[in-house]
């Protein structure tokens, strides 16, 4: 069965396009438009990977990540955000469990990062920044 991925972003258009891209690549995608919905869904379902925006109307992406990690729901996170200072907000114990992509990211890069993240959990340090464009 194809890996399940949860995408969280407050921009519906981005959600739609990410979903389209990743579904084309064969992943099973769930989306959430806010932090609350994201935690609800992650508690109910099992995901291999979560793609999190940083700025959300209710809960910050980094806080969602920490909550999910502590409840042992997901420990494989990919942040996709426009804020480069997101590193200041990532909890130290999370640093090895997540990777950051800065918007705008190309479809190719996104697919590559998702693939790598799924292949090797805990391989990427958060300090390693993959930046395209």
């Amino acid at each position: 069965m194809a890996p399940h991925i949860l995408i969280v972003d407050d921009d519906e258009e981005i959600l739609e396009l990410f979903k389209l891209l990743l579904e084309d690549a064969g992943y099973v995608i769930d989306t959430a438009i806010c932090g609350k919905e994201a935690i609800e869904k992650a508690t109910k379902n099992d995901y291999y990977l979560a793609l999190l925006d940083f700025v959300l109307p209710d809960i910050k992406g980094t806080e969602i990540a920490l909550t999910l990690y502590k409840e042992k729901r997901i420990n494989n996170i990919l942040f996709i955000t426009g804020y480069s200072y997101i590193f200041d907000f990532i909890d130290p114990q999370m640093k090895n469990k997540c990777k950051v992509l800065l918007k705008p990211v190309s479809g190719e890069d996104l697919l590559k990062s998702v693939k790598e993240a799924l292949e090797s959990v805990d391989l990427y340090g958060a300090q390693e920044l993959v930046r395209t464009i």
């Binding site: 921009d11 519906e12 981005i14 396009l17 389209l20 426009g82 804020y83 918007k103 990211v105 190309s106």
Partner: protein
């Protein structure tokens, strides 16, 4: 004003203190000295009187002594014959008596019996008989006329039956060693002798004989004082000072009182002087005090209040060009220069703070652009990739109608994103540029209908537009107000994701209109109400955080205000207050305007509707 009062009080108090000290000093020292001067003056006058009298005593003694040496007198007392009497009378005639200034001359033998007596009226200048009682008096008091030795002599005052009399009694020996009798010469103390003494001493005084018990009683006090000192001074009033001295008779008891009256000229002059001194001190003190106050007022208080007023007038809007410098070299001028220097420093800091604020604002803007432009960029990115994929597929086979429609839809989405990014940039420019108004007549009701038309309110939202019948046209910038209300109505619509009711009301109060945009949407959280008008603050996914900031600036520029009432999950009410006639002279300064908002009280909608 308070400083003026303090200075005035200080001057008055110090002046009064000096005045009291000086008045005390002048009264004790000056008047004391004057009193001493006055006393010594009257003492001198009194003693001059006494010595004039003493001179008279000496004169009568001299005269008696001269007569006692006459040989004719000696012969006459010895012989009693007529011849010698005739000789004697030649030298003892009226002229001789007048020259000797005596009233009576009497000759006594060794037994104290009267041999001869002659009287002379010094005023009438003719001879007169010696009163019987006087002769008897001397015969009774033989001790006065019987001398034991040729050298013995008695001269002095004596109470006699004719009154107080100056007598001189001397033995007649004519230088022959043996005494044959006694010569007694008398001078009545009458007004004539007083005149003589007065003439001699240039003084006016009274001679008061103390003859009987009554006199003694009357002058008891003065006589008592005179026992201790030769001269006593009495001052009964401010006009006259009286000096007293006493002369004793041959028995040693006081018989003649000298009373010298003198005008208290020195004392009066002294009093006058002290009074003039006090008066001139008051006048000089008052005038100097006023001069000092005027000078202090000019030199200190006026510059100080001017400086204080100028410093009080300084506010952030005037600090740029203000200078409070007062010309001169004194402390106030220096203070003003110091304040100017301080203002310079403040201006420097103000400029630095402005620079810092600008940098912070650039940083915040960059952050905002970083985030807000990246989302649409992300979409554009992916859409263009998607379109690229589709186009790649087109090379394999021609597109169907639906595929073409799909492509068109995708490209139009890119255009939408471009438009959104354009809005972000415009909002940013609207925020950074100043607000200049293009004033015209605006029908707000019509404007609201147009806006609701253009924002395409979804079906799920009911709309109500309620304007008062006589809602006036206002004088404002139509395009900018369109932006304000578009923003507010869009916000209201976006807050009601699951449907609700949008109400826009308009009413007039005096010279102002109030337009409220009310929704039943998600509301604004308490903690966000404070920040809702802050630049870059947003709770929306696609918000720039600039919409409400721009709204507020436009309304501020019109001289109006935005009020906000909101409660989470109940709804929000934004009320825009605008003046009907725009005040063209109203200055637009961001500092003057502040946002008034009220903390929401649930449920609020019954209140706002």
């Amino acid at each position: 004003m308070r400083l003026r009062l303090k200075l005035f009080s200080l001057l008055t108090v110090s002046y009064l203190l000096i005045f009291i000290v000086l008045q005390f000093a002048s009264n004790t020292v000056l008047l004391g000295g004057i009193e001493e001067l006055e006393n010594s003056e009257i003492k001198e006058e009194t003693s001059r009187c006494v010595s004039s009298m003493a001179k008279k005593v000496y004169e009568i003694e001299e005269a008696t002594n001269r007569f006692s040496t006459y040989t004719t007198m000696y012969q006459y007392i010895k012989s009693h014959d007529l011849l010698s009497e005739e000789y004697l009378m030649r030298s003892l005639n009226d002229v001789a008596l007048s020259e000797a200034d005596v009233n009576y001359v009497m000759l006594f033998d060794l037994n104290g019996e009267t041999i001869l007596s002659r009287g002379f009226d010094l005023i009438g200048e003719m001879g007169k008989p010696v009163p019987e009682e006087l002769v008897e008096f001397f015969e009774m008091n033989s001790i006065l006329v019987v001398h034991q030795s040729p050298q013995s002599s008695l001269t002095g005052l004596l109470k006699t039956p004719v009154g107080l009399t100056l007598i001189s009694s001397q033995p007649v020996s004519a230088g022959k060693g043996n005494t044959v009798g006694t010569i007694v010469m008398c001078r009545e103390i009458d007004s004539y002798i007083i005149d003589t003494i007065e003439e001699g001493s240039f003084l006016s005084f009274d001679l008061i004989p103390i003859i009987n018990q009554r006199d003694q009683f009357k002058y008891e006090g003065i006589l008592g004082e005179l026992e201790n000192s030769p001269i006593t001074i009495q001052k009964f009033d401010e006009e006259t000072v009286t000096g007293y001295a006493v002369m004793n008779d041959l028995y040693g008891s006081p018989v003649l009182l000298f009373k010298v009256d003198s005008e208290r000229l020195i004392h009066q002059q002294g009093i006058l002087m002290v009074n003039y001194f006090g008066l001139s001190f008051v006048l000089i003190g008052v005038s100097i005090g006023m001069l000092v106050l005027i000078a202090l007022n000019r030199m200190v208080i006026i510059p100080l209040s001017k400086l204080s007023g100028e410093v009080a007038d300084i506010d952030p809007s005037t600090i740029g060009e203000v200078s409070v410098e007062i010309p001169g070299e004194d402390e106030i001028a220096n203070l003003s220069k110091d304040i100017d220097r301080m203002l310079d420093t403040l201006r420097d800091y103000q400029a630095k703070i402005k620079d810092t604020e600008r940098m912070v604002s650039i940083g915040a803007t960059a952050t905002m652009v970083g985030h807000d432009l990246r989302n649409p960029l992300q979409v554009v990115f992916m859409l263009s990739e998607l379109i690229q994929n589709r186009i790649n597929k087109l090379e394999e086979k021609p597109p169907s109608e639906s595929e073409l429609q799909d492509l068109k839809r995708l490209t139009s989405r890119i255009r939408d994103q471009a438009a959104y990014m354009n809005k972000i940039v415009s909002d940013l420019q609207g925020l950074t540029n100043g607000v200049s108004l293009d004033i015209e007549d605006v029908d707000l009701e019509e404007l609201i209908y147009e806006i609701i038309e253009s924002v395409q309110v979804p079906e799920r939202i009911n709309q109500k537009i309620i304007f008062e019948e006589d809602f006036p046209e206002i004088y404002a910038d139509n395009a900018k107000l369109r932006r304000v209300f578009t923003n507010l109505i869009t916000n209201a619509v976006q807050s009601m994701t699951t449907g609700g009711e949008l109400t826009v009301t308009g009413h007039r109060e005096g010279d102002r209109v109030f337009v409220s945009v009310i929704d039943t949407g998600c509301g604004i959280a308490k903690e966000n109400i404070d920040r809702i008008f802050d630049p870059l603050f947003t709770t929306k996914a696609k918000g720039t955080g600039l919409g409400l900031t721009v709204c507020k600036r436009v309304v501020d520029a019109h001289g109006g205000k935005i009020f906000l009432k909101s409660h989470i999950d109940v709804g929000s009410k934004f009320t825009v207050m605008l003046p009907i006639v725009h005040d063209k002279d109203a200055k637009y300064t961001v500092q003057d305007v502040f946002i008034e908002y009220t903390m929401p009280q649930a449920p609020i909608l019954p209140n706002c509707l």
